[in-house]
């Protein structure tokens, strides 16, 4: 196969949205995404635009309205849940239910797609868990209960769990929503490192637009009218970023390569 066709994620004419009894509510249509290995992708768009819908569709939590999704050249529809769990892992925003899980146990759960029916950890499993702690710099936390962690530490541990799952793709839904600027930057730096050094394909939905502009390899922009996927440079070059927020208050400053408050403010 031609190397150019090695897309880790590919969609053809994908439409996403919700169907209720009476009508079909299309959130976005005709998405043709082609994504290679080892890229940090930031998914940007204003609240309610459908970022979560897109991520939920890519992760098979909800069905596509039409079109196809390919993960590692395999149609998502034909992947069973364990096969999918071996190529795609998640970090979610939702609060974890209360439990007595230790950090080690939590990260070890990432090995579930590989362990036997009762969940015994093999030597290989232990190695992957160890690596996950190493890559996220969280080894000192292993004996803590997860509810004792700060939000920033918990986020790293959840990323470690996803790493232990050893998947090509990691999808994160607003991982920095509860974090201060220090931990936000730390988290993004970690994600960048994982993409660059360990060739993970990482898709992050985020509202940290300015940080995304600096760190992302590829931006996915969702606007009411269309979906754009390209490198940051190309998007800036073609004046695409102004379409992200249709507002008088905020505009894209091409020289600073940042969003700034408009003069009219």
């Amino acid at each position: 196969m031609d190397l150019k066709d090695q897309h880790i994620i590919k969609t053809s004419n994908l439409s996403i949205g919700y169907t209720s009894k009476k009508n079909v509510n299309t959130v976005a249509a005709d998405l043709n995404i082609e994504l290679g290995k080892g890229k940090l992708v930031c998914l940007l768009g204003k609240n309610g635009i459908g970022k979560s819908t897109l991520l939920r569709t890519l992760t098979k939590v909800q069905p596509a309205l039409s079109g196809e999704i390919f993960i590692n050249n395999t149609n998502l529809k034909t992947l069973n849940s364990v096969e999918l769990a071996k190529s795609l892992s998640l970090v979610l925003t939702e609060h974890l239910p209360e439990s007595n899980l230790s950090v080690y146990e939590l990260v070890a759960l990432g090995r579930q797609p590989y362990t036997n029916w009762v969940g015994n950890l093999s030597e290989t499993d232990l190695k992957f868990i160890d690596n996950a702690f190493e890559q996220t710099n969280t080894k000192h936390l292993i004996n803590a209960k997860y509810y004792e962690l700060s939000d920033g530490q918990l986020q790293k541990v959840l990323i470690a769990r996803a790493l232990a799952q050893n998947t090509d793709i990691i999808i994160l839904d607003e991982p920095t929503a509860h974090l201060d600027i220090h931990h936000t930057i730390e988290t993004f730096a970690l994600l960048k490192k994982l993409a660059k050094d360990f060739h993970k394909t990482i898709i992050v939905s985020t509202h940290e637009v300015n940080l995304a502009l600096q760190l992302a390899d590829i931006l996915w922009l969702m606007t009411p009218s269309n979906f754009m996927a390209d490198t940051t440079e190309n998007l800036i070059e073609n004046d695409r970023l102004d379409q992200l927020f249709e507002s008088d208050l905020i505009s894209f400053n091409k020289t600073l390569k940042q969003f700034t408050l408009s003069n009219s403010y």
Binding site: S81, E98, S99, P113, Y147, Q165
Partner: protein
């Protein structure tokens, strides 16, 4: 790096020792004093001073102790499963109305027997009849609560829905009771007090068979239950078949709660309190540890409750339900006050 998953071998050995000890204490207690040595001789088929001692030991005390072990383990495991599945520390077979559902099954069988004619009446008094009716009743209520739980994510609402189902079944039972004869009513009332005694070896066999079937389902959901500790979405993303896990939990809980309630009446608080005590003792949420630990702890606590119910040196036996509530309710209050939040 060493795997820091703790080893619990010593705690398990201590628990098993405690179980053996309380088992011996339990069978040595009763309205008739039997020396320990004579009790032992009775079980190993040796020569016993009095024939009546042998009969009491083999046909009353031993079956009762075995019943206590099965009842305690089964209800506690049911509670553990429900607390994990509903992500709710206050879930349990009694709280969620599952025991009420089992009661309804038995009530329809006992109180409604006359409506169904003679064949049904015969069936109503057989041990299998009770077991099946109670399991079906438990299954019905648990399915209803679970359907509601899929729609309603709020854990507090699920508890309230469970309580409502409990009240609903209670009112159906009242209506049935209103139309039934004094004789049937008395029979139902005695059953509902809860009792571990009076089971024949045949009935214990029925109890044991269904207990083993229920526990087999539990063993197969140990691993998915662990991933459910992170919530359903994470569990799904790790390849867990959440629907199957939910169904297995449903079947296991209905069988365990159903058959136990059929033979020993609706027993309160064991299913709710024991998992918490065990989690406190073991400080883990790993079901591979918790399932056996909860089963053993449940057996120990049920044997203790039964020993207290004997009222040592007295002729009377208190209803077991009174003891479990006396024991369980303060524990829950203490846990809530002391820890402020219960983890599960």
């Amino acid at each position: 790096m060493v795997n820091p998953t703790k080893s619990y071998r010593n705690t398990f050995l201590i628990l098993l020792g405690a179980l053996l000890l309380i088992f011996i204490v339990n069978i040595s207690l009763g309205s008739v004093y039997i020396p320990l040595k004579q009790l032992f001789l009775a079980f190993v088929d040796g020569e016993v001073e009095k024939e009546s001692w042998k009969s009491i030991a083999l046909n009353y005390r031993l079956p009762k102790a075995i019943t206590a072990i099965i009842v305690g383990s089964g209800l506690s495991i049911s509670g553990l499963l429900m607390q994990t599945l509903f992500r709710n520390p206050l879930a349990g077979p009694y709280v969620l109305g599952i025991s009420s559902g089992a009661s309804l099954g038995v009530a329809i069988l006992i109180l409604g027997a006359s409506f169904f004619g003679a064949t049904a009446a015969g069936f109503a008094f057989s041990s299998w009849g009770h077991a099946i009716a109670a399991s079906l009743g438990a299954f019905l209520v648990l399915s209803a609560v679970m359907l509601a739980a899929i729609k309603v994510r709020n854990t507090m609402s699920i508890l309230i829905i469970g309580l409502m189902f409990g009240s609903l079944t209670a009112s159906v039972i009242s209506v049935l009771a209103y139309f039934s004869s004094a004789n049937q009513l008395q029979q139902y009332l005695f059953w509902s007090f809860g009792s571990l005694g009076n089971l024949s070896w045949n009935e214990i066999l029925v109890l044991l068979i269904i207990f083993v079937i229920g526990m087999t389902f539990v063993i197969f959901i140990i691993k998915p239950l662990n991933s459910l500790l992170l919530g359903e979405n994470y569990a799904k993303s790790m390849g867990v078949n959440v629907k199957r896990t939910r169904n297995f939990t449903l079947i296991a809980t209905s069988l365990l709660t159903g058959v136990i309630t059929a033979f020993s009446g609706p027993i309160a608080f064991i299913g709710l309190a024991v998992p918490h005590l065990t989690k406190l003792l073991f400080s883990t949420s790993n079901h591979k540890i918790l399932v056996p630990a909860v089963a053993i702890s449940g057996a120990i606590i049920m044997l203790i409750c039964d020993s207290i119910a004997q009222l040592p040196t007295s002729e009377y036996t208190l209803p077991i339900n009174a003891i479990t509530s006396l024991f369980g309710a303060p524990i829950i209050i203490w846990l809530l006050v002391r820890k402020r939040k219960i983890t599960y």
